[in-house]
């Protein structure tokens, strides 16, 4: 299972289409994702930074606090200018820009699993 967490549902759906939609779950806020994560632990998470309610950093701290979720690779998908290096302490493996990402970039992230 792959999680896509983005408050812009249309953008999340686009990412799901590039992957196999049946293997993805879309969440529009961090709380819903956290509530599901123990039951259906994902192998990879695509995460937007600015979310309604708790933001991506709250989510990252939460998953880093538990053994079963701490090692899940996270790919940040954002329109903010961020570098992977600055987010490494949060367990982020890659940062994709919403403005330049292509379906190929999204599929390439599957190698992180």
């Amino acid at each position: 299972m792959i999680y896509i967490i983005d408050d812009d549902f249309a953008m999340a759906e686009c990412i799901a289409r590039y992957l196999r939609p049946e293997e993805t779950k879309i969440f529009t806020n961090a709380i819903e994702a956290i509530n599901n994560i123990d039951e259906d632990t994902p192998k990879l998470i695509f995460l937007d930074i600015l979310l309604d309610g708790p933001d991506a950093f709250t989510f990252l701290n939460e998953i880093a606090s538990y053994e079963n979720t701490a090692k899940i690779p996270v790919v940040i998908v954002t329109s903010l200018s961020l570098e992977t290096k600055s987010l490494k302490p949060y367990g982020v493996r890659q940062v994709l820009s919403k403005e330049t990402l292509t379906p190929k970039d999204v599929k390439a992230c599957l190698k992180l699993i």
Binding site: D8, A10, M11, E13, C14, R17, N29, S79, E99, P103
Partner: protein, 219 residues
């Protein structure tokens, strides 16, 4: 501001890529419709921004406006969009809702932007309410959404200066930071107070337009 305008373009680009991945005609049609909706909203925002320059130069008329007709128009324009997002927009008139003094186009934009904000922040399967009611010598238009509460710091910033510039609350595609900024500019131009009320389960944004005395001619 440029950031807000980049959002819809980034989404349009992804929707264009997505067309190739659609597995049925129905899915393709859905993506095409989303592309049309996103571009229409972006065009509207750009039009509003160009209109702000005219507003700042005072190049607009204030006249009696039938508020019901504007509210009916906005809600019928947006109902489909709300429904596509599994949300609902309801319109409620608490009393007879008099004529107001304002500019029809600007009032339309203020209500439209408040409703788009509600669309963005309300939770799925909830209804947002556009309520219109008389309040002393004013008519108050209020848009209430049911979603995450407005963060306290943003609410305080709004109380102090309201939205003098696009806020960081919504630096997202199709979002409301820019829309609320536009709404606040237009309301100010019409001397209409605007504000936000923070609820535990959402937010209400309101504007109070002066009631027109011409109404007595129709009584």
């Amino acid at each position: 501001m440029a950031h807000e305008l980049k959002g819809p373009l980034a989404l349009l680009r992804q929707l264009a890529f997505s067309l190739e991945y659609a597995d049925s005609d129905g899915e393709r049609h859905k993506i095409q419709q989303e592309m049309i909706d996103v571009s229409e909203r972006a065009i509207k925002q750009i039009n509003d921004l160009t209109r702000i320059t005219r507003v700042e130069s005072g190049l607009f008329d204030l006249e009696p406006v039938a508020i019901r007709s504007v509210c009916n128009e906005v809600t019928s324009e947006l109902r489909q969009l709300f429904s596509a997002n599994h949300k609902n927009l309801q319109l409620e008139y608490r009393n007879r809702s008099r004529l107001v003094v304002g500019n029809r186009d600007l009032i339309h934009s203020v209500i439209y932007n408040f409703c788009i904000n509600a669309l963005h922040y309300s939770e799925e399967d909830t209804a947002s309410f556009l309520t219109v009611y008389d309040r002393h010598n004013h008519v108050r238009l209020e848009v209430r959404d049911y979603g995450p509460a407005l963060p306290v710091d943003v609410w305080r910033a709004m109380k102090q200066g309201w939205l003098e510039q696009p806020t960081s609350i919504a630096m997202r595609p199709g979002s409301s930071g820019l829309g609320l900024y536009i709404a606040s500019k237009f309301s100010k131009a019409m001397n209409a107070p605007v504000g936000a009320v923070r609820h535990r389960d959402g937010t209400s944004f309101y504007v109070e337009l002066p009631a027109s005395r011409q109404e007595s001619l129709f009584a």
